[in-house]
């Protein structure tokens, strides 16, 4: 275990909640950068652009609703992780373009042509990037920073479900094949059972 700075009583310039995870080997500056990049991906690469993708799924009302679930849950991920960035001593860029440019995943811009197969493919690959990004945070924090790990794992749970949804839809739409996600639709749009700490479907 690395040396741990002992925070003096009444000292508001340091945080025990940061020093203890540093002492357990977390590179807090790097972790903050990863969280900012992931927050940017949730807010700017997916939540914003999924709004446009959903608008363009005309004639596929079921796909629209599932895209809406993923869109609102990605917003929930942004909301969940931002307080942790500040708690660790970090902050968000005070410029939206700079924030967008920090995103670790590609912006899910409306494909050309905006066919349902192209949109579903884009949604699937966006979720896959999110899985990889949150897995990296889980790897970095496992056994060292239980609070960040818990938040990242909750988000990862939902990203894995999103991937399964879009595999099911794309396999059906593009290949005429059944590849079940194993899930049922959320009870309400963007229910986010893990990241909003709600009951998840388990009858």
């Amino acid at each position: 275990m690395a040396n741990q700075d002992v925070v003096k009583p009444g000292d508001v310039t340091q945080r025990v909640g940061v020093e203890v995870i540093k002492a357990r080997g977390v590179d807090v500056d790097k972790l903050i950068k990863m969280l900012v990049a992931n927050a940017a991906a949730e807010f700017a690469s997916t939540y914003y652009y999924y709004t446009i993708l959903r608008m363009n799924l005309a004639g596929h009302e079921d796909y629209k609703e599932i895209c809406e679930d993923a869109r609102l849950e990605d917003r929930a991920h942004w909301e969940l992780i931002v307080p942790r960035i500040y708690e660790l001593g970090g902050s968000l860029p005070n410029d939206l373009k700079a924030f967008h440019d920090q995103a670790g995943c590609v912006a899910a811009k409306l494909p050309d042509p905006p066919t349902v197969v192209n949109i579903l493919t884009l949604l699937l690959e966006s979720e896959r990037c999110a899985i990889r990004s949150w897995s990296a945070v889980c790897d970095m924090t496992f056994g060292k920073d239980p609070r960040t790990y818990d938040l990242a794992a909750r988000i990862l749970n939902e990203e894995i479900e999103h991937e399964a949804w879009f595999i099911e839809l794309l396999a059906h739409e593009r290949d005429g094949k059944s590849v079940p996600s194993g899930h049922f639709r959320r009870g309400e749009p963007g229910e986010a059972p893990y990241s909003k700490n709600r009951g998840f479907y388990n009858p």
């Binding site: 990863m34 990049a37 995103a103 590609v106 990037c129």
Partner: protein, 113 residues
């Protein structure tokens, strides 16, 4: 059916040099993984810079990368997760932080920087 050409790709990693075969249709990162070489990567979209490497010699097709700028090419950086060989290659791996520094200095997007 035409067979894809294959090239010899040498990777200078922190553990030493490894040389693999990589088809012109395959991403170098994938070929390395198939050969048991674990290189860093996160997005697999050519975006996050985690897989960055330095091209010492050879030609690469980087058109599959989501974010790759002329300045990156001029500075000799490549993104292995979306790079296909066009000749035999020599690459230095694990350059993510160097490439992020280059991007920041150039005023270009630098995820995780």
């Amino acid at each position: 059916m035409e067979t894809a050409r294959s090239f010899r790709v040498s990777l200078d990693t922190p553990e030493g040099r490894r040389t693999i075969d990589c088809a012109e249709t395959e991403f170098i990162w994938n070929a390395a993984a198939r050969a048991g070489i674990a290189l860093p990567a996160i997005c697999h979209q050519g975006r996050c810079l985690t897989c960055a490497a330095r091209l010492v010699s050879g030609e690469i097709d980087q058109t599959a990368a989501a974010s790759y700028f002329p300045q990156d090419r001029e500075a000799g950086f490549v993104l292995l997760c979306t790079a296909r060989p066009r000749s035999d290659l020599l690459l230095i791996t694990h350059q993510q932080w160097v490439m992020r520094g280059h991007r920041k200095a150039a005023g270009l997007p630098a995820p995780y920087a």
